[in-house]
Symmetry: D2
Subunit: 131 residues, 4 copies
């Protein structure tokens, strides 16, 4: 059973960390999920740029939503993230898309963009699909 | 020039996200850095376990401290993280150690443990050393 | 300038390791590249299954072909590979597809399948695009 | 039961791919395993530098030896490899060390060096320990 967009949005309102950081789920489409974050002071690291943990959390949230579309619970077991460019202000946008999905493993990529549309991080996540 | 423990602790008090999440820097030793986090409600994901973003941020913070010991600014360019076990409450402890360091690249591993001492995540980070 | 399929096939005949291992380039399409390998004795590891290095090389070759389609030289800087299932005989098939491409960085995923169509490895590669 | 150096060296002579490529196991010490490879023509890629698959195989072999020291069979499930510098000739040396080991998961890092002692790749491997 696949979930519809409203069920998914309602379910992910329970994500406490996403709420605490101000992450907003924008679109839940079968070919991609989009989430956003307006950069605030609490998102920064010790050198004044957006913390890797902020970028990771935004991407991880978007990945979790994308992995939920198939209607089963899935749990991330490995993520590889590369950081290309620092961000300091404005809005970050994450776009997740499914790369492959088989009965046991789902693979997803999330690109994170800054205000200018430049890619700042590529997140590659793999999840076990629970029965 | 290598920084001493007090300088490093002072510098990392500027890490806004770490402060916002309640991450505490415990030890800064040349052979390892330790940080802790008491799990609170805002650290959880939509299924009630500690969010991957919380675990990543704790590990990334510990990695950043470890990478700063050599006294130059370094910037993470790639992280690979594997999640072994879910955590729900208690205290998380992250221990970072240096794997290799050359003039351009530093490689560090951070293990994250739960209350019972079980490993819940292995974080492998690489950073460019800035001149 | 984009290269055509024949130019690409000709160019990759110069890949000495691919030739030495018996890797065969099958299809070069804009939405995916396919390469194959018939498992031989020299592809195995010490426990008699296909060596991780064999699977990596097949995937890496397919990735390099996919990354060359845009017509510029690109160099892999990071690969994350997960192994799902052991293989022992028959033919391995690798399918590469482009995940994202910007002026500096290309990101590609390669799935490797065994004889039965089961996925045995997911390879996620990133390459710098040279000017 | 821990294996001794001679048993390990004998066991890994069965690694067919390592033999086919000319990989030589040099040292098996508890705090590190060293293997070498003299670069030959068949190790190169289409642009005349050492193939990522060659470097991966050398590192993966060294990792497998290091993971075998604890005396149980282990199977790699995830590897992250970053390539820092191209190599063209001479001898490559890989040094594996254990990062962490618990009853289920072993984590190892392998650094690969060229003739000049420059690091050309960092390989981070994780293995399931079989019962």
């Amino acid at each position: 059973m696949l979930l519809d967009e409203n069920e998914i949005k309602k379910f992910f309102k329970q994500d406490k960390l996403a709420k605490y950081l101000g992450i907003e789920l924008v679109d839940v489409l079968d070919d991609g999920v989009i989430a956003k974050l307006d950069i605030q002071d609490e998102h920064l690291n010790s050198i004044g740029t957006v913390h890797g943990g902020t970028i990771f959390t935004l991407a991880d949230f978007t990945f979790a939503v994308a992995a939920s579309i198939q209607g089963k619970i899935s749990v991330a077991f490995n993520v590889n993230i590369s950081f290309m460019k620092a961000a300091t202000n404005g809005t970050l946008t994450a776009r997740a898309k499914k790369i492959s999905l088989n009965p046991k493993i789902g693979s997803y990529t999330v690109n994170v963009y800054d205000n200018k549309g430049d890619i700042i991080a590529i997140f590659q996540g793999m999840a076990y699909i629970k029965k």
